[in-house]
């Protein structure tokens, strides 16, 4: 996994602690170095501080997203609401705020690594779900771990894909934000529901024909979200 953190103390101690947890840690002090590393060897996980030097965390996440679908956890020294939402919109999957404890970070990492792409989603796995009967047809293939529009693959991050799978097993069922937060991010009662909202928004821009007027991932006012299939 990749760790981008400009504070020497945190970077070193975090690398040691995460190595103790069994991760293979590749620490970097600047966004530029880290981006070079990501391009060369795409990591399975990224832990990124938002306050970096010249290349800030947001820019790094956006660039890293062009080459990697791996889960990104943001470390925010500023638990400023705007920063967190902006980071999530840039492509981050979850966040921790300073000061944090290692337990917290590893819990977030575990949640996002828990079920990788193509792994068994639940008993309902092995299904193909037609999201949009088209044309063009949009199909979620849980076994292959991908979403295709006609023949081309729609590029989803690991977390976006898992979110879509949760919504699709089975489809046409309302899931509250709390439930989604719990299942995809393993956040308990006190999780931040904005994480779900931002991911739903990101998902819509990729699967909907008109993200402003969603037909597939539908909001059910006051209750949560529902996947409307084209079948």
């Amino acid at each position: 996994m990749l760790v981008v953190e400009d504070d020497d103390g945190i970077r070193t101690s975090l690398a040691l602690a995460l190595e103790d947890e069994g991760y293979d840690v590749d620490p970097h002090a600047s966004g530029e170095d880290a981006f070079a590393a990501v391009s060369a060897h795409p990591p399975d996980l990224m832990l990124v501080d938002l306050m970096l030097g010249r290349m800030d965390g947001f820019t790094f996440i956006r660039s890293a997203r062009t080459v990697s679908d791996a889960p990104v956890i943001v470390v925010s020294a500023r638990d400023d609401t705007h920063d967190i939402v902006a980071a999530l919109e840039a492509g981050a999957d979850d966040y921790v705020t300073k000061p944090f404890v290692v337990k917290e970070v590893s819990a977030r990492l575990r949640a996002l690594m828990r079920r990788g792409r193509g792994g068994p989603i639940n008993e309902q796995s092995g299904r193909r779900v037609v999201l949009d009967s088209g044309p063009p047809t949009l199909v979620l293939d849980m076994d292959a771990g991908r979403v295709t529009r006609e023949a081309t693959e729609v590029h989803l991050t690991v977390t976006e894909f898992r979110l879509l799978c949760e919504l699709a097993s089975p489809p046409d069922r309302v899931l509250s934000r709390q439930v989604l937060l719990d299942r995809v991010w393993d956040r308990g009662f006190f999780g931040d529901e904005r994480i779900v909202d931002v991911h739903i928004r990101r998902l819509r821009t990729k699967v909907e024909r008109e993200p402003g007027d969603p037909q597939i991932v539908v909001t059910v006012r006051g209750l949560g979200y529902r996947l409307h299939t084209g079948e």
Binding site: T12, D20, P99, F190
Partner: protein
């Protein structure tokens, strides 16, 4: 007088006094002029009449053979007048009611004087005009007494009207005074309102600019003062925020490093392990304190809350208990969801601080209950009671314990930054709620959290 009366009352009274004085002086003047004019008119009229009558009587008396009483009978003075004639020491009167006794003694004795006069006197309680006309040719004195009671009535009416007028002027002046006082005090009311808002934490409050040259200077200095105050407070808050932000990174590095060390406890000597435990304990305390500070800073800065509408307070309490490693059995479940509109993370921190406080200072948390007070549609409240079994909080300390860094002297040795309860109080304030401390039935302390019940519930949740 000013100190006991308000400015408004004083001004009103002064206006009323001024009004009544003015009206009184004017009324008295009017009355005096009107009275002397009327009396003068009356005197002239009476005099004219008297001379006419006197001349008639003289002619009658000079006609030989006629008796005085006959002459008087032939005179026909107006109804309110009586003619008296004195001749050779005897008195004759044209009326049975009025005799010579009506004339003042002093006048009657001036028999010898041959001068005519006119004079006012009270006859039978009625102010009257007395006119004497000597009739030397007939060897008699002619008197005419004219009652002026209708003049009396006129003057009485005039007096009444003027007094009524004075009273009306006084009332009008008082009303005017009250209005003027209110106008004069209105800017002060605005200042008081602004000051109250500023004291309530709305530091962006300023007095509106005014065209009034009397007020402009005042408004200017007031606003300058608030600017300076706000800047100072902001600087202090920014300093605290900056310091706590700067502390985060080193604290995170420390926490993580100690974590790494703790994993290697087995490789350490007993002494080293003991030291690590000490460091860990104080580091945790530091961590909590910093989080409280950061939260307080956020509340001070008025950072937006992430309110979850219609959150079940019972579940919130249960999850907070579980999250802080306590037993959910401490919760006295009301058996139904009680909904509130709160930022769940913030409210959870506040509740957790109350639980920690009970454990640290109150001999242990014994019970948490959630209930609802008030009917739907009457601003119902959700109440959370947190009970402990300690020695309670003395009544005089029950407000102070919510101050920042307040510490009871006897509890000074126990860990706790003294920030926790102030965070609770400020979080509740931000949620339009309130927290207070009282004694419970077990002589311990009870912290009562009161929040407005969710309006989403009343509207019927979709």
């Amino acid at each position: 007088m000013r100190s006991r009366w308000g400015l408004r009352a004083t001004l009103t009274a002064l206006f009323a006094l001024g009004g009544v004085l003015l009206a009184g002086v004017m009324g008295l003047g009017t009355y005096g002029v009107a009275r002397s004019y009327l009396l003068d008119q009356r005197e002239r009229g009476t005099l004219r009449q008297a001379f006419a009558d006197a001349s008639y009587v003289r002619d009658g008396l000079l006609t030989s053979g006629r008796r005085v009483s006959d002459v008087l009978g032939a005179v026909s003075p107006p109804a309110e007048s009586t003619v008296l004639v004195q001749r050779r020491g005897r008195w004759y009167s044209s009326s049975l009611d009025v005799g010579e006794a009506a004339l003042p003694q002093a006048l009657r004795s001036q028999v010898g004087e041959d001068s005519a006069w006119v004079q006012w006197a009270s006859v039978g309680g009625v102010p009257s005009v007395l006119v004497r006309v000597p009739l030397p040719a007939a060897g008699a004195q002619f008197y005419e007494v004219t009652a002026a009671d209708e003049l009396q009535r006129t003057l009485h009416t005039l007096r009444t009207v003027l007094i009524g007028f004075a009273v009306a002027v006084m009332v009008a002046a008082a009303v005017l005074g009250r209005w003027a006082a209110r106008r004069a005090v209105a800017p002060l009311d605005a200042v008081a309102g602004a000051a109250a808002r500023i004291a309530g934490g709305r530091l962006d409050t300023r007095l509106p600019a005014t065209e009034d040259p009397d007020l402009a200077t005042f408004v200017g200095s007031f606003n300058t003062m608030v600017d300076a105050l706000a800047e100072r407070i902001e600087r202090d808050a920014r300093f605290t925020a900056d310091v706590s932000h700067e502390l985060r990174s080193p604290l995170t590095a420390l926490l993580t490093s100690v974590d790494v060390l703790e994993r290697r406890r087995d490789e350490m000597s007993a002494r080293s392990a003991q030291v690590i435990d000490l460091v860990r304990a104080d580091l945790d305390r530091f961590h909590r304190m910093l989080e409280d500070l950061l939260d307080l800073g956020r509340l001070d800065a008025g950072a937006p809350m992430r309110v979850v509408p219609g959150l079940d307070a019972v579940e919130l309490v249960r999850q907070t208990l579980l999250d802080s490693g306590r037993s959910a059995a401490l919760l006295e479940d009301p058996g139904q969801p009680l909904l509130v509109d709160v930022d769940k993370q913030q409210m959870a921190r506040a509740l957790r601080n109350l639980f920690d406080n009970a454990d640290r200072h109150g001999g242990g948390l014994t019970r948490v209950s959630v209930s609802q007070e008030g009917l739907a549609g009457h601003h119902p409240k959700v109440i959370v009671c947190v009970d402990d079994q300690g020695r309670g909080v003395p009544p005089e300390d029950r407000e102070r314990i919510f101050d920042r860094f307040h510490r009871d002297g006897s509890r000074g040795s126990l860990p706790g930054a003294g920030l926790g309860l102030s965070l609770v109080s400020e979080t509740l304030q931000a949620h339009a709620g309130v927290v207070w401390c009282m004694a419970n039935d077990w002589r311990g302390a009870r912290f009562v959290v009161q929040l407005p019940a969710s309006s989403a519930h009343a509207a019927g949740e979709s």
